[in-house]
């Protein structure tokens, strides 16, 4: 009757040593639309593909600015991301109040990591069904962290999560060496190209379905959407189209 006897709660191991509820939560991340993050020596960039439930509806928000120095991009259950982002906002303000300093990104990442892990260890709780990319700048410079529903957090140079994100990660891996020395504009273009690579054939990046989050040393985190990103989309992809044209000539 049941496909699986060990997936009723998040505290029971299967005989193979797996916790299915956590794995299902990680599947939820893969259902979400793709988000990409990259850091250079001076900047941290998030790029996200927004989805609309239907033609007439608005697009689901993918990037949430948390504090002046950082923001998050989410893939998975947006409502769980809202809970986490509220928590992060509150912790960030607490750090400014008690210590008069912007919260270090490693610290806020560890906090939500601990919170998510607790959910996988208490009966009656469920893991968060959302993956996050946390990008921004603190006293130690620009950072990008990945957060998973299991509570695993890792510092990354570049990362993509969400549906078909493997394609984006392939792009990022190919260009890994360039990121560290990239300028702000180059980094944004890399992020957009990685995002584009994960799209299916019939889809394109447009002003409506793309979000960017940029922060840098001496530059506060800001989200860019709509008309503000038109220029970046244009300059990033006109060259790509030319290259595409050349390679087609070679084929014929």
């Amino acid at each position: 009757m049941f496909r699986n006897n060990y997936d009723n709660d998040s505290v029971t191991f299967s005989p193979q040593g797996r916790i299915f509820q956590v794995e299902y939560a990680q599947e939820a991340v893969k259902q979400g639309s793709v988000v990409v993050g990259i850091v250079s020596k001076t900047h941290a960039v998030l790029a996200a593909l927004k989805r609309n439930a239907e033609e007439l509806s608005s697009y689901q928000k993918k990037i949430i600015p948390i504090d002046t120095h950082y923001g998050i991009a989410l893939a998975g259950l947006a409502s769980d991301a809202r809970v986490l982002s509220n928590f992060m906002k509150q912790q960030s303000l607490a750090s400014r109040l008690t210590y008069d300093r912007p919260i270090p990104l490693a610290q806020i990442t560890a906090r939500i990591g601990d919170r998510a892990q607790t959910n996988t260890q208490q009966y009656g709780k469920r893991p968060y069904g959302v993956g996050l990319l946390i990008a921004g700048v603190d006293a130690k410079g620009p950072h990008l962290f990945e957060f998973q529903p299991s509570g695993v957090t890792q510092e990354m140079i570049a990362c993509g999560i969400g549906a078909r994100s493997q394609m984006a990660r392939t792009y990022l891996e190919r260009n890994l060496d360039e990121f560290e020395g990239s300028t702000r504009e180059e980094l944004i273009k890399h992020a957009l190209r990685a995002l584009k690579d994960s799209l299916s054939q019939d889809k394109e990046l447009t002003m409506e379905n793309t979000s960017l989050g940029v922060s840098g040393v001496e530059e506060d985190f800001r989200m860019y959407e709509g008309q503000e990103i038109a220029n970046w989309l244009e300059t990033t992809f006109e060259r790509a189209e030319e290259e595409g044209g050349e390679s087609m000539e070679v084929d014929t």
């Binding site: 008690t98 210590y99 610290q107 130690k140």
Partner: protein, 281 residues
């Protein structure tokens, strides 16, 4: 059948009588029954005390000093109490007031330091300059301590101290600020707590009248003024002693000396003082 899960597994009230909640922790509704029916009281006055702490900001850092005496009322009870506590390479805290509260705050700062180093160690960057920049600054520490002090006075259970936090802020510029048992804070190029505020502050202000003067002040001159102030304090503050600690904090870290003897001590001036006690001029 008792249908309330919170009662399951507990001694039944109808057999054992209801639980005496006064034994519970305070935050769970517990209370200590006081024998004379009076309410709980907290610290009403300090017991073993340290006297003044003084500090001066100079060009590239801060000098801070406090003597090594802990008094029990007017009794010079302990003569080896170190009242300057280095927090890290960027900050030193000087404590005046109750010594047991100082020891509590010292333990609090130790655990804060452990937390901070555990965090920064875990990122595994190994970039020393970045570690240094991200290290908690004297300003961060002062903000934290002032919140601790204010919280405790709001609970009507104050930590009976006056603190000076000396060191560098996150931009590595000299930082000096005050916090006390009321949660009051202020900052100035020269600061003194307790009697020092009356006896030493005027002397320090003569050397450093304003922020600009402190930015032009050499380290040697700042140390000299602090030494002079410690001598005046020993002569005129009856709860002081002639052995003191002094720390200099600058980009090179904390230079702390804990057993400095007062130099060229002389009471010859004393017989010239008129106007006290039974003298009739």
């Amino acid at each position: 059948m008792d249908h309330f899960p919170q009662a399951w597994g507990r001694p039944r009230d109808d057999i054992y009588g209801s639980y005496n909640p006064s034994y519970l922790p305070h935050n769970k509704g517990g209370y200590q029954a006081h024998p004379n029916g009076q309410p709980n009281t907290h610290t009403q006055s300090p017991i073993v005390t340290g006297t003044s702490v003084i500090a001066i900001k100079f060009k590239s850092g801060v000098v801070i000093a406090a003597d090594n005496l802990a008094s029990y009322g007017s009794l010079a009870r302990f003569t080896d109490v170190k009242r300057l506590k280095p927090f890290n390479k960027k900050a030193v805290v000087g404590f005046g007031g109750d010594v047991s509260d100082m020891q509590y705050l010292d333990r609090l700062l130790s655990s804060l330091d452990v937390q901070e180093n555990y965090r920064s160690g875990s990122s595994g960057h190994g970039d020393e300059e970045a570690e240094n920049r991200a290290m908690m600054s004297a300003k961060n520490l002062h903000t934290y301590l002032s919140k601790v002090m204010y919280k405790r006075r709001t609970d009507f259970n104050p930590l009976w101290n006056a603190l000076l936090v000396a060191g560098l802020d996150e931009k590595s510029t000299p930082f000096l600020a005050f916090a006390d048992l009321l949660g009051t804070t202020y900052s100035s190029p020269t600061l003194a707590t307790g009697f020092g505020a009356h006896l030493a502050q005027p002397i320090m202000r003569r050397a450093v009248p304003d922020e600009e003067a402190s930015q032009n002040l050499e380290r040697e001159k700042a140390v000299e003024v602090v030494k002079q102030c410690m001598k005046v304090l020993f002569y005129r503050d009856a709860r002081s002693m002639n052995v003191y600690s002094m720390a200099v904090i600058d980009e090179n870290g904390v230079d702390l000396k804990e057993d400095i003897k007062l130099e060229a001590e002389s009471w010859a001036f004393a017989e010239g003082i008129k106007g006290y006690g039974t003298q009739t001029v």
